[in-house]
Point group: C2
Chain length 234, copies 2
Amino acid sequence: MQDIPLDRRTDQIREALEEMIVEGHFPDGARLDEVRLAEQFHVSRTPLREAFQSLAASGLVELRLRRGAFVKFPALEDVIEMFDVMAEIEAMCGRYAARRMTPEAEAEIAAALVGCETAFAADDFDGYYRANHEFHALIYRASGNRFLAGEAERLHRRLKPFRRLQLRLRGRMRESLKEHRLIFDALVAGDEAAVTAQMRAHIAVQGDRFNDLAAQYRRSIGAAGARQRDRERV
Amino acid sequence: MQDIPLDRRTDQIREALEEMIVEGHFPDGARLDEVRLAEQFHVSRTPLREAFQSLAASGLVELRLRRGAFVKFPALEDVIEMFDVMAEIEAMCGRYAARRMTPEAEAEIAAALVGCETAFAADDFDGYYRANHEFHALIYRASGNRFLAGEAERLHRRLKPFRRLQLRLRGRMRESLKEHRLIFDALVAGDEAAVTAQMRAHIAVQGDRFNDLAAQYRRSIGAAGARQRDRERV
DNA sequence: ATGTCATTTCTTGCATACAATAGGATTGAC
DNA sequence: GTCAATCCTATTGTATGCAAGAAATGACAT
């Protein structure tokens, strides 16, 4: 969205906590203990509290009045809704990118695509995730709309853990790569309609199939200690 | 996006500042003086600083390292970019709403439309703005995707000052109302494609024509004390 | 054993205190 | 009079202190 100074402990802590939450180091609903975390980071409670404000704004934690900050995993339905929106946002990025593609952008995206292929060949899930992110992020930027790119990045980051899981599905990585090629070809051809359709499908399929993943996800992350709460969470 | 507790001074101050900024009570680039605002709100600096974190996250202010919080008006190009994204988001809301329309939603939207007509008849800009917001917000919710609705609301709020200005353009209110009727009819007919197209046009026209407004806007708000900065701001 | 209520402890929310830095004012050299 | 180096002040960033509210504990009654 915007690059913040990052020199204050507050910002460093915000980054660190965001990473930890997105990577699933906390179970859903876990309370982020101000005092304990303050000790862990060797700071007072003040920078932590300020970091909580930021995290709450991006929806990663929930601040309950006089109860503290709680890690908030989205519910299954939330994730599906988010993928729906993501599909549309990414489709829009693709559409603009197709219209505004430059030789430089094309070369960069081509390189990212090679990265995807390499990771696929090596059966490297994490590597594929990174290359995939690079591929998509370059298209965001190629849209020429920085606000759009920022929103896309934000959403992408929020959906990170769920995208990663997708890759573990049987054959998903192969499919994903095939879709990337189609998207790339349409981009190069400047075919806005095709890019839009391919991209939308590429993302939407993840939401559509997300139900298949719910159970698996619960085992892999939710089981880390989350207890069922007021409504079902993935 | 999510309903926050709002009982802490921090949250009240965040709301108040957001309102003041969106309403143009501060010139672009103005520093939000912690000490002075703390006195004004009869609190210490702590809740103010926490509110700043929130505001920075939504992009309304910029936190500069050891310099403080500064009001950040988007640049002209930023506003155009934001309207582009808004057009797509609203179009998506419309598409989903057309698919999922209920009799209740239809009645509510019809009522909001009447509100628009009333305000138009009375030549009441502010009234029209409110009715307009109601009309759009109901469609967001009718989309049945709460995440989408939240994002739409957030963006709408961020673009509030620029939308309001639109209405002052010669004949814009009449046009807007006409477009609302078309959108409503397509919604009732369940014509997804038509709603999508109408809604996209309804919003995009505001971005497209925004250049016409820039000069006017500079007079009405920017003149309040903003000095030109590193790049042109509306 | 279970439920209710009082008491205690813990934690948050805010205020205040202190330390570090940025930017301007001041001084002095040329 | 201009420029540079230095000092001073204002303001941020962080730590700590304190009061109010929530949860935990335990006594007591049913």
